[in-house]
Amino acid sequence: MIRAALKSLLGRKLRLVMSTFAIVLGVAFVVGTLIFSDTLNRSFTSLFASTVGDVVVRPDGGGDAPGGVLSTRTVPGDLVGTLAAVPGAARADGMVNALGVYVVDDEGKPIGGFGPPSLGANWSDAPAGNGLEGLQIAEGRAPEGPDEVVLDAATAEKSGYDVGDTVPLITTDETANLAPTLVGVADFAEGGSLNGATYAAFETAEAQRLFHEGEDEYESIWVTAADGVTQEQLLADVEATLPDGYEAVTGDEAADESASDLLEAISFLTTFLLIFAGIALVVGSFIIVNTFSILVAQRSRELALLRALGASKKQVVRSVQLEAFVLGFLGATFGVLLGIVLAIGLRALFATFGLDLSGQPLVYRPRSFVAAYAVGIVVTMAAAYLPARRTSRIAPVQAMRDEIALPEESLRNRFRYGLLLALVGGGLLAVGLTDVLGLGRVGWFVGGGVLAVLLGVTAMAPVLAGPFLRAARALYERLFGSIGNLAGQNSLRNPRRTAATASALMIGLTLACTMAIVGDSAKASVDRTIEESFTGDFVVSSIFGGSFSASIAERVDGVEGVDAVVRQRSGFAEADGDFTVVVATDPESLERLGVTFVEGGPADLTTGTVLLGDSYAADRGLAVGDDYVLDAAAGTVTWTVAGTVETGALLAGGVIVSIPTYEAAGYPPEDSMLVVYADDAASGLQDRLDEVLADQPIVTAKDQAAFAAEQREPIDQFVLIIYALLGLALLIAVLGIVNTLALSVIERTREVGLLRAIGVTRPQLRLMITLESVVIAVLGAVLGLVLGIGFGVALMRAVRDEGLEVISVPFGQLGVFLLLAVVVGVLAAVLPARRAARLDVLEAISTQ
């Protein structure tokens, strides 16, 4: 029996390859994602391990700041001496750290900037925790005085500077532009990398002059343990001498903290990739169900014969399940290989975005492989379960009959179950989107709802498809005569099969269409909000979306034709576990910025008070006079709600404070946006602004149109990335169509032979199969578009309150999708049609 099963597998290699393809892709995504994220983890864990001492001393609550925010609170320099004298300490070193120190390369472009930080520091030869060697001077020497800098090796190479060259630097503090001499290049002695971050180190006094206005203070102090002293022992000793207002943590703990903060921040990426693995697997399992259904139908006579020869029901079912197992195993194996390639590809892709992991070899954990095989085999066997079960209903006597109709569940029942499932899915979706029950876990509800609707519609598809296929047949007959009629009839012959094949395409297109609507609506919303709330004539902001030196505002203010400049600052904070953006500006400018007060007025925004967006306040049940508590850069702060305002684009976060309040919360005195108001008569202002910003390549001045375009760009990029990933789902679906058609051609070999015998030419035969393919593809596309529009509009309605008010359906783009479906249909038919056309007439006609 096992032999028979394996033989029949080998006998159908091509079909095998095609139906495994989906498994291969799905598994590859799972494996690739797991390997990549393990690599990412390992790489950051080892990076952070080299950026902490045995014990780290920092201001109280220094670990509470939201990820990526550097507080302005410091540790005094005289504490270094005290800590060095602690019994278990070998030495203590003060550490200056700064963000936003951009290296400008020899072509005037800033290095990095997106994602990984641009670090500034004081040069220190203190060993990292556990005796790890951190960055070491690999070339030249350490910085010894003002105007000297050391860069990390990767940055030095990318920027094209050698020791002795002058390195232009841009900082986000008052000095804004520096031009020190490169005196040395630092590298990890034992391999490793900064993962794409740039690093510029100065002599300690110079670093303090640059980043601490010359005060003798540090961001943290590393205490190195003496020989034989553990981190815990040292920690106890340090804590005994530590004055109030400061805390000490072991290096291990500090490294874990930073690593887990960062990994949490980028965990969306893993989730995102795994969602696509899920999509590939769902689409793939449709194809497997279909393939196995057809194979079982085609082999029913053979299976009946086996039954007649004495095989039990169980044996017959097992033989099909065994095939599924082998298929799943093969798919998983190829998937693992492809997954490794994918992980390498992901690493390269992220390197182009600045996250450079080249120093870290790929990490293969057994978990990745266990997951691959589990997913591959379980999905395949689950998908083959129903078709396999159906074989048990084949009676031995059917071996003697001419035509075997496999007993199948009635379409009407199937429709009912499908409808029920779709309704439940719709309900889940509604619960998830509106979160009326306050259950949280929105993602699970929405995801589950979408999946249930898709599966429900798939179950209903054979019935839903009926009218469509009949209309298509009539149209085909009109356009292509009897060949068209034949093609139309063929698609009607087994609506189950046609619909299942189309459903695979439907899923990809549903998601693509939803994405198109979300993207288009988001862009329209951005446009509208900017149009409604853009004040002033120009906006100056960082091309990296970060902050820039406060001195830029003065420069811009001095430009001829500029009437006024309004500063805005923004920083991340966390309130009740949600990330928020705190925006700071000058209270007098609020009206000028177009902020509309619902309650209170500009004068109410005094130090220690906050203005909240009206919907933001309503969501949190906050009213004027209430306390608003949040984790800011310097730790937990409490502000009094002074008023509420209408939410708008420039103050999108909905949390507005004055600049002194902002600085008191530990945020650096750096601007993130300047709104420039021009004199009435000013002309040629853009050129003059560009000129004064020339040595600051990280900031640009743009008018409303350019600003809107800049804001739309990330949306476009995001949508494009999703399309690229959905392209894979599309590819799987195309292979599904190819597979179904190829199997149908084999099944109808005799009929094809007959048609050829009575005078159907090869081109006519190819046309027939192409038409059949196109109708399947268009059916999938139509179902997908309808569902996609439904999902898209529902989604956009649900997020209406969040400032995305416009629902825009890009019909042009949807039309392109439909056209694409026709192309897909034509392409999918190429191979099966060729195969059919090449059949030998006589052989075909005498096939049983």
Binding site: N485, A757, I758, V760
Partner: protein, 259 residues
């Protein structure tokens, strides 16, 4: 060679002609000569039967003549066209325009109704059926109100009559039928044979039919006997007993026995 009546072939038009036709399968030791230097004229307006033991090459002869298969050597002429050198496209058109074929196992398109099956060759060629001709064919087929039934709703005999109608409807130069009654009981078989006979008598259709049944052969004007890929005998205006006699003689002769 036994010829009961002198051949009245003079002046008759030839619908198809086979000259020195050979067809071999396989190579070397395993070579099978399915047809061995067959020369044969098939006359227009005549109902010809091809008989012979199993494996004697009857089906092969039909296939090669009907442009479904190619010969190893020799010539096949349909009308005055030599088909040996034609390419697929031309052969397809030839089959569509000049040849009708009836298979032993009906071979109807399951998705189409009886009527659609009948007109399929015309529809494919983009021709409109000649209504009067179509009606007369359908009338002789005698399906009546079952024309819009799908093949699986028809009996074997009905299906085969549809297949015959399909072969006749485009008024081909010649119709080949390979054991058209092989799957039918004697009554359904008789109906199909009468249909073929009628097409010859009333419309002057040329029909060539392979059969194992002496009763079926008695419906024809001429019987050609094959053995081991060669034409070994011929009979005009055959009746059942004459055919039986020749068949008995052939199986006595030995080498042409079933195989």
């Amino acid at each position: 060679m036994t010829t009961s009546t002198p051949s009245p072939t003079a002046g008759r038009e030839v619908a198809a002609r086979v000259v020195g036709l050979s067809k071999t399968y396989g190579q070397g030791e395993a070579v099978v000569r399915a047809l061995d230097d067959v020369t044969l004229d098939l006359y227009a307006g005549e109902f010809t039967a091809v008989m012979g033991p199993s494996g004697s090459g009857k089906s092969t002869l039909m296939h090669v003549c009907a442009a479904l298969d190619s010969a190893t050597s020799g010539e096949v002429l349909i009308g005055d066209r030599e088909i040996g050198r034609l390419h697929d496209k031309a052969l397809t058109l030839l089959r569509r325009e000049e040849i009708g074929f009836v298979f032993q196992s009906y071979n109807l398109v399951p998705t189409l109704s009886a009527e659609e099956n009948i007109v399929l060759p015309l529809a494919i060629a983009g021709r409109k059926p000649d209504r009067a001709w179509f009606d007369s064919v359908v009338a002789t087929v005698g399906l009546g109100d079952r024309l819009d039934h799908k093949p699986n709703q028809l009996s074997g005999g009905q299906q085969q009559r549809v297949a015959v109608a399909r072969a006749l409807v485009s008024r081909p130069r010649i119709v080949f039928a390979d054991e058209p009654t092989g799957n039918l009981d004697s009554r359904s078989g008789a109906e199909v044979l009468e249909l073929l006979r009628a097409s010859v008598d009333t419309h002057g259709q040329t029909v060539v039919m392979v059969t194992h049944d002496p009763v079926a052969a008695a419906y024809t004007d001429r019987v050609v006997f094959l053995a081991d890929g060669k034409v070994v005998d011929e009979l005009r205006q055959p009746d059942r007993d004459q055919v039986l006699a020749i068949m008995a003689r052939m199986s006595d002769a030995g080498p042409g026995g079933p195989g």
